[in-house]
């Protein structure tokens, strides 16, 4: 049977010929096929859904994309609460649109994951049962309007640092999805920055609200990319599912955003935070990794409430899904 990808007019000819070489190895022994796969991926090649891939790779991509999708879906909840309270028409439109984007990202990512063999409903089941995870930052409460600015600016900025590196992921559908997601996230950052700058230039109450939100979010932000890890032992890096280590991402985030935060006259709640010119990297107080572990295992301040909210809501809308999946009947 002809692989439909070989006929795909969208792929450049060189990539098409590479696809042929690796998809058509079906008669080779496993180890040899594995070697071809390794060489292809390590050499910068892309894997497409119909290509042969080792189960470990499929599982690793699925795990990675599923957690990303879960995070987009759960990330909707903290901000969604403020759509109703947005203080101007423009802010309400922007926030609704931003949250809508996150839902759209969840949809795109769940589709990528579905093609790897796990049905969407099974992913929702696992998320609600606590078998799969979502990002630490979405386990925290949003207390004031300033949180909306800080999340859209800095949480999204920390995310985009990681996501930009994923545009070159070895898994083709994920890499392409990230192109769109990154573009939209960069608009979110502009929206967030605008909210933050407005508050920073506002009344004393607004400035205090902003500083308080930043103080509260800084810990989770520093934990967000995870503890330092050994590059050589990270299989996601080896297979180029992702491109950078946690520490590389954190350093990148600090380099871009610390000056921008300070420029607004805000302070950061870490007295050790400073750029070490000799070492060429940021020094900072060790983030609270216990807090991170506690939070991502669904013991964060809002973990239970948000999962329960999703569960109740899923239950309350089950009849709609049943109705639209059913065969239409003739009118009564």
């Amino acid at each position: 049977m002809t692989d439909p990808l070989a006929l795909d007019p969208v792929l450049p000819p060189r990539e098409r010929s590479e696809l042929r070489a690796r998809a058509w190895n079906e008669d080779l022994p496993h180890d040899e096929r594995y070697e071809h796969f390794e060489a292809h991926v390590r050499g910068g090649g892309k894997i497409e859904p119909h290509d042969w891939m080792p189960d470990e790779y499929r599982t690793a991509v699925l795990r990675f994309v599923e957690m990303h999708a879960n995070s987009e879906l759960m990330g909707v909840l903290p901000e969604r609460e403020w759509i109703m309270r947005a203080p101007t028409l423009r802010r309400k439109l922007a926030l609704t649109s931003k949250v809508q984007d996150e839902v759209g990202h969840a949809q795109l990512l769940y589709r990528v994951a579905e093609d790897l063999g796990k049905p969407r409903e099974a992913m929702f089941d696992d998320l609600l049962a606590g078998k799969t995870k979502f990002h630490n930052v979405f386990h925290y409460p949003t207390r004031t309007w300033a949180d909306i600015g800080v999340i859209a600016w800095l949480v999204d900025a920390a995310a985009i640092v990681a996501q930009q590196a994923l545009r070159d992921s070895s898994y083709g559908p994920y890499a392409r999805t990230m192109q769109k997601i990154c573009w939209e996230e960069s608009v979110h950052i502009m929206h967030g920055r605008d909210v933050v700058v407005t508050l920073a230039n506002g009344t004393t109450t607004q400035r205090e609200m902003l500083q308080e939100a930043l103080d509260r979010w800084w810990g989770p932000l520093m934990q967000m990319h995870g503890p330092r890890s050994d590059r050589s032992k990270d299989r996601d890096l080896h297979w180029r599912i992702k491109a950078k280590t946690s520490e590389e991402l954190r350093q990148e985030f600090l380099t871009i955003y610390v000056p921008r935060i300070l420029e607004l006259g805000l302070t950061l709640p870490d007295p050790e935070l400073a750029f070490d010119k000799e070492a060429g990297e940021w020094r900072y107080a060790d983030p609270d990794w216990n807090e991170l572990r506690t939070v991502v295992t669904n013991h964060g301040p809002k973990s239970h409430e948000r999962l329960e909210f999703r569960r109740l809501n899923r239950e309350a809308t089950a009849w709609v899904r049943a109705a639209i999946l059913a065969e239409p009947r003739a009118a009564a």
């Binding site: 109703m84 203080p87 101007t88 028409l89 839902v103 309007w145 407005t198 506002g202 639209i324």
Partner: protein
């Protein structure tokens, strides 16, 4: 700045019409945006959120026109937010809380079809409004298609979906006609060509259209002409007071601040 050159009584009637339309779009935009992030399926979540944004965009444009009629320094945000709950002029149909998906679809179906009938009654008597309405109608066309697709699907699904949908329609039916209540100063609006037909005619057309859609689905709905035009848009519910408390909370926390 749009210059308004109407007799004072016409200007007052125009302002009331703009306010009622803007408040309708503003409030239904809030109800719909409550579904953002929690709609029954992700694809629908994105759709409903787009509709909410359209409605808020329409509300914003209508408040801006209203600001130009008042010409007293209040901008669209001040008009939208800085009022007591009693001063809102949205139709009673929109006074109900978000409810379940059946209520959301029933409300959208009744509102979208009624709003289309209202929009079709607005002429070029005041060109800024005529031009805006032409744009709004292009977008509302898709809202009607969306509402009709869902109404059809829920009604034909039978079982729980149909029961919920019919119950929601019946719960909203007494208030649905309020969207097309006769506005204050209608004679002046007709005279100025701002309206091209009385709202009572729009109501009759809408009632026939709704029956044409629902009767083939085996649903009959009693839709009676709103008796008291003034009451159609005042005396709001506790649900709306709650909503008002939410949407003004940040703004009231630091009055006069820029957000």
């Amino acid at each position: 700045m749009t210059v308004v050159r109407f007799a004072p009584s016409t200007s007052t009637a125009l302002a009331e019409l703009l306010l009622s339309m803007a408040d309708d779009e503003f409030v239904i935009g809030f109800s719909d945006s409550e579904w953002t992030g929690i709609a029954p399926i992700l694809e629908e979540d994105v759709a409903m959120s787009s509709i909410a944004q359209d409605e808020l965009g329409h509300a914003k444009a209508l408040y801006e026109l209203l600001a130009s009629v008042h010409n007293d320094g209040r901008d669209a945000d001040a008009l939208a937010y800085d009022r007591e709950p009693e001063a809102y002029r949205h139709a009673r149909l929109l006074d109900h809380r978000r409810g379940d998906w059946a209520l959301a679809i029933a409300r959208r179906f009744l509102y979208d079809t009624a709003d289309a009938a209202r929009l079709a009654s607005i002429g070029d008597g005041w060109p800024p409004l005529g031009e805006l309405i032409a744009k709004i109608r292009r977008e509302e066309r898709y809202h009607v298609m969306h509402a009709l697709a869902w109404a059809d699907r829920l009604a034909r699904a039978g079982g729980e979906a149909r029961e919920r949908f019919v119950a929601a329609l019946e719960a909203l039916a007494p208030d649905a006609p309020t969207v097309l209540a006769t506005p204050e100063g209608e004679a002046a609006l007709l005279e100025a060509g701002i309206l091209t037909r009385p709202m009572s005619a729009a109501f009759e057309g809408w009632r026939t259209e709704v029956a044409g859609i629902l009767v083939p689905l085996g649903i009959t709905l009693r839709l009676e002409a709103p008796a008291d035009a003034a009451a159609a848009r005042t005396g709001h519910s506790d649900d709306f007071r709650w909503l008002w408390g939410e949407f003004t909370s940040v703004r009231r926390s630091d009055p006069g601040a820029t957000w």
